[in-house]
């Protein structure tokens, strides 16, 4: 009987930190191993910046609207939308990664960890957000070289906004991953989540322009949390806070994350309601 070692109950804060660090480290390693993911994450917004923006600047006039205090080039206007696009795709990519992990069985090893499940999911969300922030900075560097004129302090002031938007879109991705049963169904996410969210937002054109052409689309754009993510970033780039955007992003994050935690709860979650489909 003396051979039986009974460990102390619970975990220390330091052990929580070790767990969070481990999950972030693994997410980072996987990202580095998947170079195509990094390249495609960069190429997508750069195509918009280099090609679409070049065409749109001739046909689309952007008047002086907050946070801008002068006329700006279309490239400057579209940059916050493209930053948010990187984070949107990253959130969905992490959702895809969770579905893949579930199919490959890796997710089980995460979920049988003795740490509270909410903590494991939040840690995974933080890891995914960290990866998305790195991608955004890589994009901002290329945009700067391309001539997109942003205030010097924007690199620093945008960081809190990037973290908030990354958390919101990551938690949305996590919620979606609990609903998607198989990897093959992920194409639906592209059609029904990513594209509508991106196009029905203020990413490509200001909402006042949308309102002039279609009040219905304007209403849809106004209800889209992604719009508020973009505006939060846009204002943060100019050292300002859009409080409404911050509130919407905060509430959306809490709702999406709460729903994801419930969905991954073995007692209440959708994984259980689906019958045999375990994590």
């Amino acid at each position: 009987m003396s051979d039986l070692v009974v460990p102390a109950r619970g975990f220390t804060l330091w052990q929580y930190w070790i767990c969070l660090r481990g999950i972030t480290w693994r997410e980072g390693l996987r990202f580095l191993h998947q170079r195509e993911r990094f390249v495609s994450a960069l190429v997508r917004p750069l195509v918009w910046l280099f090609i679409f923006a070049a065409g749109f600047r001739q046909i689309l006039g952007v008047s002086i609207i907050p946070p801008y205090n002068t006329y700006i080039l279309y490239e400057v206007y579209v940059t916050p939308g493209l930053i948010a696009m990187i984070q949107l795709f990253n959130g969905m990519q992490s959702s895809l990664s969770m579905v893949y992990d579930r199919e490959m069985g890796n997710m089980r090893m995460l979920l049988v960890s003795p740490f509270p499940r909410w903590f494991l999911l939040v840690a995974k969300l933080l890891a995914s957000t960290a990866v998305s922030v790195l991608q955004v900075y890589a994009f901002m560097l290329v945009a700067y070289v391309w001539g997109v004129d942003l205030p010097p302090w924007s690199w620093l002031t945008v960081l809190p906004a990037l973290i908030c938007v990354g958390l919101m879109l990551g938690s949305l991705g996590m919620l979606l991953s609990s609903m998607i049963k198989q990897l093959e169904n992920f194409a639906g996410v592209m059609n029904f989540v990513i594209f509508p969210m991106f196009f029905a937002s203020s990413a490509l054109y200001p909402l006042w322009l949308v309102q002039q052409s279609s009040p219905i689309v304007y209403t849809i754009c106004s209800l889209n949390p992604f719009t508020y993510g973009i505006e939060l970033i846009r204002f943060a780039l100019y050292s300002q806070v859009d409080w409404v955007a911050l509130a919407v992003v905060g509430v959306s994050t809490v709702v999406f994350m709460g729903a994801a935690i419930v969905a991954y709860d073995p007692a209440r979650g959708m994984l259980v309601r689906r019958g045999g489909g375990g994590p």
Partner: protein, 259 residues
Amino acid sequence: MNSLAEPLERLPDVVADTPALTVASVSHAYGRHQALDDVSFTVPAGRFTALLGLNGAGKTTLFSLITRLFHTRVGSISVLGHRVDREPGEALRQLGVVFQARTLDLDLSVKDNLLYHASLHGIGGREARARAGRVLARVGLESHARIAARRLSGGEVRRVEIARSLLHEPQLLLLDEPTVGLDVSSKRSIVTHVRALVDDQHVAVLWATHLLDEVDPSDAVVVLHKGRLLAWGLAETIVARTGAADMRGAFVTLTGEAP
């Protein structure tokens, strides 16, 4: 048959008074399909217990309930006295698990897989690296630490998974069909490794299998069939009680089907 569902004699715990695992009146259904029906048994501490059953017996469902991937709605499961539904953290930290599906991250090296697992148990830094080295040596794969997991053979993957399951020094090891799809030599190696763990480190093992040649006469055995517990006790006693010549005969007598 039902009389064999009671333990023929109380199997002694080798290292503790508390059983490593207690499954009490557990039932689980997927919609109308009853996957487990009023299953009760214990796994003594420090012993090897075989969970015998054909495909569809409910072995994987039971593992999912023990590891809290599924919620136990009917009955209760305790790991070293900790209820899985009430104290999941305390129960799970005593568990090492090798699932039927391969669960290594193929993008990472063997060592990185182990270090990631260590972090999921709150073990980091030097301690994690030292333990990773020890458990790899334990399964004879210390030279494979830097190899990418996707380059391992099927048998090596299993041994790494066993090493990983031991990293946080659990008292109970669950292995779900760990030898399926492996060649004879890999199978033998894995069975030998796990039995050595029981002998040397007094780890309790619940080994789910449908392969009767993996069961020794002195093992504790739980026979599960179509979600129901048909027998639980020492293999040799079950054989004697059923009047069969060996465990294979006993299994056929109990289930009416050949393994």
